[in-house]
Amino acid sequence: MEFSADQLDALREIVNIAMGRAGDRLARLLGCFIELPVPIVRFVDAPDVREAIRSMVRIDGDVTAVRQAFSSVAPGECIVIYGDASVHELGDLVASDATEAGAPRNEVLLEITNLLVGACAGGIGEQLGQELSYSAPSIIVANARIDEVLDPANVPWRTALLLEVNFRIEGRTFLAHILMFWPESAVSRVRESLDGFLADLG
């Protein structure tokens, strides 16, 4: 399951470039400065996933989590976690119906998630020369404790590759935690893609 040092480096570089591009695109779209700090890449075993999420996300209060699957050669799934405060700020971020003040909260959440996942996952796919397809986003939990997002007893994988990116808008409290998972069944394909990327470089 492990990646070689080269492969890990390649993955980090790809992710950095991808997130940089994603940040630019989102900034242009939303008309504000986006902060996308350096993503964290790690492998996680199913029993540890709750702790991993808790330590990455660090939200005490209630959260709402939206999931969306993506696929090209390596199928994975994004979970985007929003804290309470962020959910309240959503209304003005995406004009989903220009005249209707306060579009339904769920609709806005799903749109923002689609935006973020498309930018981040799509950005990585772009670096790897792959065209991605996506499933419709859906809400996993709303106004729940962070531990309710994933139940380690109920996931179809034992180990996963996990990438965490925090999406922040300058001058606002809005913060979305983007967790990208590739289950072990997909990891070998990710590794192949990385090898392809490395081969193209050198």
């Binding site: 695109r25 779209l29 004009a95 989903s96 119906d97 220009a98 005249t99 339904p104 769920n106 609709e107 799903l110 749109e111 689609n114 935006l115 498309g118 930018a119 799509g122 065209e131 397809s133 996506y134 419709a136 986003p137 859906s138």
Partner: protein, 326 residues
């Protein structure tokens, strides 16, 4: 010998025949493709709409929302979605359950797919419409069942704690609360009083007005007592015509005052039943928990003894345990 399958023709056939609405628009929302599912459900032929503006052909569509969704795909070069949960439908199509379906229209999941040209830019948006009516109905049925279950559980909980006739606490709940309050008295020493109330000559009420009359008397007496006590006081049905008032942080004198108020109100309030008016009185035995009180049963025994003294003394009165009968 069969002719080789033409891949392009096959793809065309599939798009035409698949049980999914598929139509495609260019950047000006001109229809460039419109499959059979769309024809059949809209009642409009492809030949009548191809090359024309989507909104001219279908003016009932939510134009502002849909234009924005489509434009988003061109700008972001990415998929967009709409679920039946957010927006029940895009096109007002009839669903395929004309007899059993309880929604008025087909519930729809909509996907907006970017179609890229040779240079990688998005040149068209392909919109797919999937019938989600079954999923919607199934989810609704499940929600209704859950709601019924929750109601039933609330009912069960109420029944397990409340007396069915009067609505005050039943004996079981009363015993638990008395035990708790007594334990608190033991631990912290704050005052605790118990008043046992018994409806005078209740058998006579039943004999005169029937059991339904007796029931009404118990209901009204319980309500009258409840109105005189505080929120923190505990009122329950101890036995057939016997009520218990548990009064935390109240001493014997305070309990006697409350009880006397209750007695007076009941004496003064006639109870309407059918064509008759029933007047009843109550006897109330009062006691206070003391260091010597061993347990709850001891407390109840004292209140009972005080109650018995009321009966011997002529009824319609309050008597405190250990006091001189007057």
């Amino acid at each position: 010998m069969t002719a080789p399958v033409d891949a392009a023709a096959l793809a065309q056939l599939i798009v035409e025949r698949v049980a999914v609405g598929v139509f495609t628009v260019d950047e000006r929302c001109t229809l460039v493709q419109f499959n059979r599912f769309m024809e059949q459900h809209s009642g409009v032929a492809a030949s009548a709409v191809l090359g024309r503006n989507l909104f001219e052909c279908f003016p009932e569509l939510p134009r502002r929302w849909l234009e924005q969704k489509i434009r988003g795909v061109f700008v972001l070069q990415n998929f967009a979605f709409s679920s039946w949960r957010q927006r029940p439908y895009l096109f007002a199509f009839a669903h395929n359950r004309p007899v059993t379906g309880s929604v008025d229209r087909m519930q729809q999941d909509v996907t907006f797919v970017p179609v890229k040209g040779p240079d990688g830019a998005v040149i068209a948006v392909c919109v797919t419409i999937t019938d989600a009516t079954d999923a919607c109905l199934s989810e609704r049925a499940s929600e209704q069942a859950s709601a019924k279950l929750r109601e039933a559980l609330a009912e069960v909980e109420k029944l397990s704690v409340r007396d069915g006739l009067t609505g005050i606490l039943n004996r079981r709940a009363l015993d638990i609360r008395m035990r708790d309050e007594f334990a608190r008295f033991r631990r912290y020493g704050s005052p605790l009083s118990l008043a046992m109330l018994d409806v005078d000559h209740f058998k006579r009420v039943n004999d005169t007005h029937g059991h339904l009359g007796g029931d009404e008397v118990l209901r009204r007496v319980s309500a009258l007592v409840a109105a005189e006590i505080r929120d923190v006081d505990i009122l329950g049905r101890y036995g057939g015509e016997e009520l218990a008032m548990v009064l935390p942080a109240v001493d014997a004198r305070g309990a006697a005052v409350v009880s006397e108020r209750v007695r007076r109100v009941i004496e003064a309030t006639p109870i309407a039943f059918m064509d008759a008016t029933i007047t009843v009185t109550v006897s109330i035995g009062v006691t206070e928990a003391r260091p010597a009180t061993t347990d709850v049963n001891g407390l109840i025994a004292e209140a009972d003894e005080a109650l018995y003294a009321c009966k011997r003394g002529g009824r319609n009165r309050v008597h405190a345990f250990g006091a001189d009968p007057n």
